[in-house]
Amino acid sequence: MDAQFLNRFNLSFNYARSVNTDQILEVPVSAVTGYVTQWQNAGRLSGNVWELTLGANIIRSNVINWDVNLLFDRITQTVDQLNREGYAIVSGGIFRIEEGEDFGTLYGRKWARTLEQVANQVPDGNTLEEYYTINNQGYVVRSETIGTSEEEPIQIKDEEGNFLEAKIGSVIPDFNLNFTSNLSWKNLDAYFLLSYQQGGQTYNHMRRYMMVNGVSATLDQFGRPQNEIKSQRYYNRLTTWNNEYFVEDATFLKLREISIGYNIRRDQLNNFIGLENVKISLIGRNLFSLTRYSGFDPEAGQSEGGLDSNVLKFDLSSYPNYATVSGSIQVTFQHHSL
């Protein structure tokens, strides 16, 4: 749906329902075949895309022109058919490809935050309330260890006593906003693109490795009040493979691009070798970002099994989007018909 109003604004709404059949995926097969995986047309992926665009021509004159554009989008995808049992990928299985599962859901172990979650881990002869307590970080710990070097969080177990593998997050954002501004004044052009992602999470596996290696700022206890100091054993326990501790909010605001350009137009070029326009620009990309994500880049990801890093937000020393400053000379020739 498109609408224009007040001769300066346009509004556009798009909804798309996509169904991708015969997705090519590298799926596990039984060892008895002599192989580990096979590329198969294994699944059908359904997606919903909502887009809302509001554009405005703020200033329009012979000398100056300023357009802005705001794009809202929300994208969800679900595996609604898989020609086989579900399976997991990345880091021993932090993502699951499973029928009915939202694409991008993170799975792993969880830490108990309420006493009810450890009711099945009370040794005989003890009571739940006496044996466990909740520490000042909100984790359940053994009461007798609190404030000592023995204190450590407790993982939730299932009814059979195995560590619970549960949903610990989702990499899918709640929504994205992209704001662009195009300003031209005489021969000058100025442009910027701001991107905002609300919600969605990234698994910061790199932080786990930094904690394991003792170089994470998390381990620095200097200056903390005595009752907030935790032992390295405590943090070592939190480095358990694939667990919710390393699921981080990936909300960000980024200045993706900013550029300024100067145009030398045809009339200024005096028909020099048939040139229409020469534009000299200075372009900066990814120069600024605001995020609470503790790694380099909340958009970091991994490619695996036919799925790309835009989906699998698993940060294992992935290169961040580079901050670059570059120059550009754009030459346009006059158009001649054949």
Binding site: S30, T33, Y35, V36, G93, N162, N236, W241
Partner: protein
């Protein structure tokens, strides 16, 4: 006019290209020679020895590669990893934990490597055996009949592939040459039956070797071309190893058929079994990481000899204290009464994980790295000492002690390394059997360290010498990988942690 001319030429070029393309369309339906079917692969029986060589490489690469050895060795406290690579952490964490059995990248999951790696060889071996045994295929190369030797290799491979599955997993899919893979029912067989099948196939291989006379037409492994006699000796040695190493505990070791072990060992190898270090045979984790655990141990400075092993060899030196004391980040050089200590191990001033020991656990710290076999990996050429004559003889000595017979023979075997290489006081025939077992396992842990890389894990798992056993709670067998379980809708399970070791 000029414009019309250009358009005409352009149209002509497009049309020409179209017709030229159509002419080639008939060739699009071409056979894909890179995707042969079973009949094509197994049609030429002359290829069988090379196909079996490929199966040997599947077995070899995964049993010398980094996984699960990288997890099992720290679990056995003979070598350390001090890191989480290849899923090692849960195997040696203190207190011991259940090992995660998760779906995902099999390269990262210790229980996946042998499972997928060993099964890589099974279909080929079964097909070759089937073609010879049930379809009367003859292997004739340059006018000479190699059918017996090929069948002997086929049986031996069935034995060692399933023998290693029986060593490590609680159950597996038992498949032989009669199995219809396309309609397979995916029924699991518990490891005792897998072991029995493996040994029966090894016995069949030995029976052929002991009646036929042959020399292999090709090298089955780099630098290894068997005769019927050497194949029989190798098969016997593998029989002894599988029978002994399949035991999960001291109790199961007591129940081993030691007379059978003795028979295997008496007919086993009489010299070290060596395999050349060559490209493609360096070790794998499924289909990645082309290097062996040996290379990691020798080239990666942070793979170290475990403090528990150092303590065993220098029990009176305070620098060999075990467990490593909490809060201490460095100890001095160790003086051992065993002459092999400085020959096999090397002191390093720095400890790779000392700075972060408190988060990893002080139990991983050690100053010593492996020195033995270093030349091979420094130079990149030579032979891997995969199965030493000493190891074979130790099975014989152990059988003597378990059966309480031929004690003098057992003592002589112990002293052949204890005294001759270690310079330690000799074991005496008059000593109690329990004391001789202790000396024998000491020799095993020193002399077979890093020959068959996972060997010291299996030794600690099975030994009935209390002081040499696994740390309490250490996983004693691995579950079928979750990836396989999930394919068949089988409930997930795992092992490890006190009370759940097996």
């Amino acid at each position: 006019m000029k414009m019309l001319h250009y358009r005409f030429v352009t149209l002509l070029l497009i049309a020409g290209g179209f017709f030229a393309s159509c002419e080639g369309l008939q060739d699009l339906d071409v056979p894909n020679y890179n995707d042969p079917n079973r009949n094509q692969v197994f049609r030429n029986s002359q290829d069988f020895p090379n196909l079996l060589s490929g199966a040997y490489s599947a077995w070899w690469n995964h049993t010398v590669g980094p996984s699960p050895q990288f997890a099992l060795l720290p679990a056995s406290e003979t070598m350390g990893s001090g890191y989480g690579s290849w899923g090692a952490n849960p195997f040696y964490a203190i207190p011991r934990e259940s090992v995660p059995n998760t779906d995902g990248d099999p390269v990262l999951i210790p229980q996946a490597s042998w499972w997928y790696g060993l099964y890589q060889g099974v279909p080929t071996v079964n097909d070759v055996v089937n073609r010879i045994q049930n379809e009367d295929a003859r292997v004739v190369i340059d006018g000479q009949d190699y059918t017996s030797s090929t069948l002997a290799h086929g049986y031996l491979l069935q034995g060692i592939l399933f023998g290693h599955l029986a060593m490590l997993y609680d159950k597996a899919f038992l498949m032989d040459e009669h199995t219809d893979v396309t309609n397979y029912g995916f029924e699991y067989t518990a490891y005792p039956a897998i072991k029995a099948y493996a040994l029966s196939r090894i016995d069949q291989a030995i029976a052929i070797c002991d009646t036929a006379s042959f020399t292999d037409p090709v090298e089955m492994m780099p630098g290894v071309s068997f005769t019927n006699e050497s194949l029989s000796r190798f098969a016997n040695a593998m029989g002894a190893r599988i029978l002994a190493y399949a035991a999960r505990s001291a109790e199961e070791t007591q129940a081993v058929d030691w007379a059978k072990v003795m028979n295997y060992a008496r007919n086993g190898i009489t010299e070290d079994f060596l395999v050349s270090l060559e490209a493609g045979w360096e070790g794998l984790v499924i289909n990645r990481d082309a290097f062996g655990y040996h290379q990691l141990a020798l080239n990666w400075g942070w793979v170290r000899v475990h403090q528990r092993l150092l303590h065993m060899m220098a029990p009176d030196d305070p620098n060999a204290v075990y467990p490593w004391p909490f809060g201490v980040s460095s100890l001095g050089p160790i003086v051992s009464p065993d002459q092999r200590f400085d020959e096999y191990f090397e002191f390093n001033e720095t400890i790779p994980w000392a700075g972060s020991a408190s988060s990893k656990g002080y139990h991983i710290l050690t100053h010593y790295s492996l020195q033995r076999f270093r030349d091979l990996y420094d130079q990149g050429v030579g032979s891997v000492n995969y199965y030493t004559k000493n190891e074979n003889d130790y099975y014989l000595a152990e059988a003597d002690l378990q059966l309480n017979q031929n004690i003098a023979e057992a003592v002589a075997i112990i002293n052949s390394t204890r005294v001759d290489k270690g310079g330690l006081p000799p074991a005496e025939v008059s000593e109690p059997v329990a004391e001789l077992k202790k000396k024998l396992y000491y020799e095993r842990l020193v002399e077979t360290l890093m020959t068959f890389p996972a060997g010291s894990y299996f030794d600690r798992r099975r030994t009935d010498v209390a002081e040499f056993q696994l740390y309490p709670g250490t996983v004693r067998q691995l579950p079928v990988p979750a990836q396989e379980l999930n394919l068949h809708g089988t409930p997930n399970y795992t092992f490890g942690g006190v009370g759940d070791e097996i």
